[in-house]
Amino acid sequence: MNEQTLKVQKIKNGIVIDHIPCGMALKVLKILGIEGDRGSTVTMAMHVNGKNGPKDIVKIEDRNLDEREIDKIALIAPSATVNIVENYEVVKKHRVHVPMQIKGIVKCMNPKCITNQREPVESEFTVLSEEPLILKCRYCGREMKQKDVIESII
């Protein structure tokens, strides 16, 4: 067993979110609604030396991610990969990607935007740029950068 594996233990079943930009692991947990007080066992490693420089890793046992959650991860960690582990083996590995339209997962930062009122609509954004991330609200036209997006994930 090498030093790296000792730091971040293998899991039997669940997901491994790898290649998270340094310092973003806690935010990934936050948007997945994982607070560590119940449910899955969570292992997290920050600033781990990887082949392409330092990164964060999150391992969550006995849990799956739906598409909406994967989209959320893509917004804050576009370089991340999601590995699905079954019986200690990675059975599926996919890179996250930022979808063209973001619906219902980010709140518009403009307090005067109609989507922030009591109206029966979901927020919706067009992705103007993935790297750096720039979203544009389909309703009020306000542009949001990654820093704002992280604060506004629903």
């Binding site: 005067k112 935007c113 109609i114 109206e119 029966p120 309703y139 009020c140 036209g141 306000r142």
Partner: protein, 305 residues
């Protein structure tokens, strides 16, 4: 071409659609002036929902509908409507949609017109949503320039005043740049055109801080109101407002063909004496709101192809 279309943002319209609106608007001028009568929209109902005060926009839409023989329902004081009882905009729109054939909406919140367009089956025309879009103003501004010069491409157009909060200048700047105009921006440092608007423009505009830099060679001076409430310090406001005022003396240095435009209401940014010079076009511009809105109503209602 435009039947059933929502006009929420100027970018909803292609250049071809804009040209169609302008060409129909030109034919509408004698009717707008009351010299000819029309029953083109007889039997059609326009609903004007003004959740925020307006003089020109509402009256010119209503005049446009009446001039074409149509009827108008609506309100201009939301306090007297069910909105004050807490109804959502979506519900108001769904209801009014069933009472009318086309809806014009002005709302204090940004993106309200887009939402209205989603909940209405009939066409929705945005008459201003907060600091957002006001596409019919942009159309009448461009129409005015076309009537005066016959073209927009190659014109040196100076947008002056509050370019940061002034909602009409954002979509105007973008549209003009796509139509090939040479756009110049003149504003105090604190009221500069937002970067995201400049990014949307077809080519980089020239930026100045003094009117004097563009005074002698602009074809169009598009002046906007600098609002007092944007300045925490009244002395600072007075200083800024003064240096962005068009005076009668300045008009003498302008090109002979140059025109001065303003979306109105004007406060102190154009001296009243300027009204009597051959440069003033802002009242003519306000009039053009009627034929342009007549054209829009006739086209979205499908009375004209």
């Amino acid at each position: 071409m435009l039947k059933g279309k929502d006009i929420v943002s100027i970018s909803d319209l292609s250049e071809r659609e804009m040209q169609r609106i302008f060409s129909v608007a030109r034919d509408m001028i004698p009717i707008a002036e009351g010299k000819e009568k029309s029953e083109l929209l007889r039997g059609s109902i326009l609903a004007t929902l003004f959740f925020e005060p307006s003089t020109r926009t509402r009256l010119s839409f209503e005049s446009a509908m009446h001039r074409l023989g149509g009827s108008v329902i609506g309100f201009s004081n939301p306090a007297s409507t069910s909105l004050s009882k807490g109804e959502t905009l979506a519900d108001t729109i769904r209801t009014v949609n069933s009472y009318s054939d086309v809806i014009v909406v002005r709302h204090p919140l940004e993106g309200a017109a887009r939402l209205a367009a989603e909940f209405a089956e009939n066409p929705v025309i945005n008459a201003g949503d907060g600091a957002g879009q006001h596409p019919t103003q942009t159309l009448l501004d461009i129409f005015t320039m076309l009537q005066e010069f016959g073209h927009v491409d190659g014109l040196k157009i100076s947008l002056i005043g509050d370019l940061r909060y002034g909602r009409t200048v954002h979509s105007l700047a973008v549209a003009l740049s796509y139509l090939g105009a040479d756009v110049h921006l003149i504003s105090p440092r604190t009221l500069k055109m937002p970067k995201h608007v400049i990014r949307e423009m077809h080519h980089e505009p020239e930026i100045h801080e003094r009117i004097d830099d563009v005074l002698r060679d602009s074809d169009v001076f598009y002046v906007t109101r600098i609002q007092k409430e944007r300045f925490p310090d009244p002395a600072e406001y007075a200083k800024v407002a003064n240096s962005y005022t068009i005076t009668r003396k300045m008009t003498e240095e302008m090109k002979k063909e140059a025109i001065i435009m303003h979306p109105l209401p004007r406060v102190t940014e154009i001296e009243p004496e300027v009204d009597y010079t051959p440069r003033a076009r802002y009242f003519k511009q306000a009039f053009y709101g009627v034929p342009v809105r007549m054209a829009i109503l006739a086209l979205v209602l499908g009375a004209i192809e």
